[in-house]
Symmetry: D2
Subunit: 316 residues, 4 copies
């Protein structure tokens, strides 16, 4: 796989970790301006990719900023105790990235489409979120102990609303003026082993690929005027990338050197082209469990007064 | 039933027709500043209540404006042909009230809560709406023939978002600047016979009761800056009003004169008070059919190029 | 309120506790053949009504058997710790009533209608249930530790399937031969204070009212051939009963003696009659929380090997 | 692509048309014992594959019987008039295959998982079905005019119920004794161009692949004791097949001869293996439209008394 193939398919990789792997695979060494840290927990490995200058930004195709990846294959297992640990790791990383004061007013935005399972992660997290902003306006102070004001919005997708998602969010942000936006999104990975095993936090928000014709606006500090932390989980892989990887693996196994397979792949993926994704059958359960972990992590990070024993409860 | 009782319960009647009936019942004559028209169709009676001056506004508890009521008990029957007629009557009234130019850019807003059946009418209509605004931006002109740019939003409810519904809508309106907002809402009626048989159109938008402590903002020309037509259908009746009506009917049947029953009613409706509503068991089917009729009516009114034979199709 | 009024309205009270109150209210003393025990927990009072002979059965309008009522107003509060206690109390009562051996094969049946919020409790519990029967057939033994084989079915309602619910369940029971059926259902209470505060367990299963024209078959040992424990929670109150109670309270407050109010009530509740119910607006949240508690209680009772700290997790 | 590859991946093609193409591709001539008819409509091509003897059954991997394929790419377009034609073609083919008498009692079974969009076609059709069996028991005769008794069941999937789907259906069939079962299912195609463009009717019911370890029971005349017509629509393609096709296309484009690519493909599709499927992003809309067409076709075929102008209405 090389970055030329991705460009030819109009695909921009969502995970910084995967983008880096491909580029390093081409050059064989660390990308200048990219720095990487690693921490290990019992059920999770946390890798932080720092994109430190504009040269690195150009190579990586991602804005300067911090991309934290939590790799936790245990998310795919039915192991509540381990899921709780992953939620706690997520909370710790989110707190570090967001630097919230106790009064911080946070808007959680669930991107994606309620009606298409692999794209429903964001709206699901919104539905499980412990929302409190209205309590701060209307309820007695004792209900507010240990909580921060949190609001949540699932703006829907263009095909259902007829409105750009960024427009809806921007409109709401201008009215309620949060200090922080946390945007939850389903991602597309290069490899299927990333599906429901990897959580990425990015302090750069959501930035659509820069290809020609890309009319979608970003959801980031520049467009929203406030800090945006994006939390994304791969729930699908790109069908074209899977096909390309299979071709390469096969050619290598025959001792050959793969050339440009774009035409063959486009032929097979007609008539849907780049809009085809690969998903496992049990995607409904994976989405449910992942939404559970993320909403749990948000509650731990945003509402420090909640007893950790109870957070699982709040995750429903 | 008198208007004092309603005030004591903090209830403001949603249907202008019912408000007028109660006040006329007290005075025995038409309310000064209120004018009423009537048209009859084979399956629907259309009554327009004009509130013409501020005196009438004060008595009726509703702003100066036009309130069109379509009474069609046939909505509750399984009669597709008749439902089609009701959708056409709704479309005709909506067109008259909205005075749309062909370029008019309309935002349909579905108020209410997806998760509570009797309150889900608005979001259901949004889900069935023929949304086209994005086609006008991105699609070739031939796709646009006979359609107006329509967008749709289901903003959710305060308990789920933590944000006032009016704030969300106002934010989006400021961004996309529609010429018209059509707000769909579930209403509470005085009488159970109104449930899923009556559609009200109001050119005054949505105006919360004026009682003390009512912190909800209206969705109307004043708050939104553009014309707002409200389309509402009673899906519940007020439990307190039903109890009061039963008491009055009973006392009258014994030849007595009813007095103030508020204390007895409050006692029975503890601990939920005014938040209790009366619903029929088949509310899911009634909501589905009503949403169908309203989204059909919207398509006929907003997209004149669609063949009437096909509108039923577009209503899914 | 007397039992004559209920008969005239075709209403049979679902809660044994309420049925007993009304009859005792008429006679002023305990009903012969009815015995009552009471236990008190920090957030719940457990009352067991034993209907011990056929005379008591005739008076109570409910079959001979044990009716355990857990009264826990805390269900309506946002108090995870207290909810956990209620789930544990439910589990303890269920274990006592069901007398399960470790190999017991249990079928959980969620009665009611997914599409109508107040009637969706049963299907919601099925969706949250920890189902394991297939693991016992297909999975390695180590996955089975501390679990019993549990299956779950949401058979739908007559209007959607065209098939009597009891027929569907009976058909499945004949195939999979469980030792125990646990049937979850939404109930209608006399008083609104029972809504989402009371859980009834009955070892007599589900027995439709015995009124003329009642064509619904029961779901009980007699029809199913195996033990049936019914778990029910009031999610609505009868509108006719609420109206009658309001009339009585009012008449008493004026020093009068209430007579027969059926005609007045029928007049007000036209055209839906006995099918009208009273619900609080926040019914969606109440149903969600109650389903959470019941599925948690089921997991604790049926799967003794699950760590109590994790049950909240399994309740999603 | 050859049949060896499919076997090595444990994949059995759902569409008889695709199975035939592959085998003919290998042999270059029509398969003995297979006969094919073709009819052409303005928006649909109908091909009937007759598998006429056991030799053909062995080669095709599908039981002796009739497989009607309706190819209608227009399903993917927003064209209500054409969709209506497809529904009518479906109804005509279904009537011919089912040979219903006017009293025929039909059970529609919606296979698949409500919670996973590409697998939700069956349950969606059940939700849109015009169910009448209960009317024949309880309603006055005039409601029955021109309708047949139809019931509908969405039995759920093994992971949610813990019960084999065939067991649930068999249990219900034994109780209500229908003359015909119509089983609706999502299929997996070889090619992505089949997704939401092809409808297959099979008078052989549902027959799981015959691979070792396949413990799923069929839903067919043999297991159910009554005629079973299966209606299936591809909503996904097999990821492994897509990868294999891409490899073959690429090798051919380089002038080479493809060998066995199983190892390369398995490597790329780890850790989900054969359970990975390829879906277009707009799968929610495709499923909704397809369910609409199928439920419309069922109504036309099963309820001859319904005015064709109204069928679109009944399709909601």
């Amino acid at each position: 796989m090389d970055s030329e193939f991705l460009k030819s398919q109009g695909i921009s990789l969502d995970l910084a970790l995967e983008a880096r792997e491909i580029i390093r695979g081409e050059t064989g060494r660390e990308i200048p301006g990219v720095r990487v840290d690693k921490e290990t927990y019992s059920h999770a490995v946390v890798t932080t990719v720092h994109i430190e200058d504009e040269a690195a930004q150009a190579v990586m195709g991602k804005p300067v900023g911090k991309y934290i990846t939590i790799e936790a294959p245990v998310i795919r297992e039915n192991n509540p105790e381990a899921h709780r640990e992953v939620a706690e790791v997520l909370a710790a990383q989110l707190k570090k990235m967001a630097q919230l004061s106790m009064e911080s007013n946070t808007l959680v935005v669930g991107l994606g489409n309620w009606y298409a399972t692999p794209d429903a992660l964001g709206p699901k997290v919104v539905g499980k979120c412990l929302v409190t902003r209205h309590l701060f306006k209307y309820a007695p102070q004792e209900l507010q102990g240990g909580m921060r004001p949190v609001s949540a919005l699932a703006p829907g997708v263009l095909g259902i609303t007829g409105i750009e998602t960024a427009e809806i969010i921007k409109g709401v942000v201008e009215r309620i003026q949060p200090e922080l936006i946390i945007a939850i999104d389903s991602l597309a990975a290069r490899g299927v082993d990333r599906i429901a095993t990897t959580i990425q936090l990015a302090d750069t928000g959501i930035n659509p690929g820069s290809g020609i014709g890309n009319k979608r606006a970003g959801i980031n500090k520049e467009t929203m005027g406030v800090k945006v932390v994006a939390i994304g989980v791969p729930t699908v892989a790109h069908a074209a990338v899977i096909a390309q990887d299979a071709i390469e693996k096969y050619i290598q196994s025959t001792g050959g050197r793969p050339g440009d397979a774009s035409a063959a792949i486009n032929n097979v993926l007609q008539p849907f082209g780049g809009n085809l994704t690969v998903t496992p059958k049990e995607i409904d359960t994976l989405i449910e469990d992942t939404a559970h972990i993320i909403s749990g992590g948000l509650s731990i990070a945003l509402h420090p007064g909640i007893n950790p024993d109870d957070y699982a409860y709040y995750m429903h």
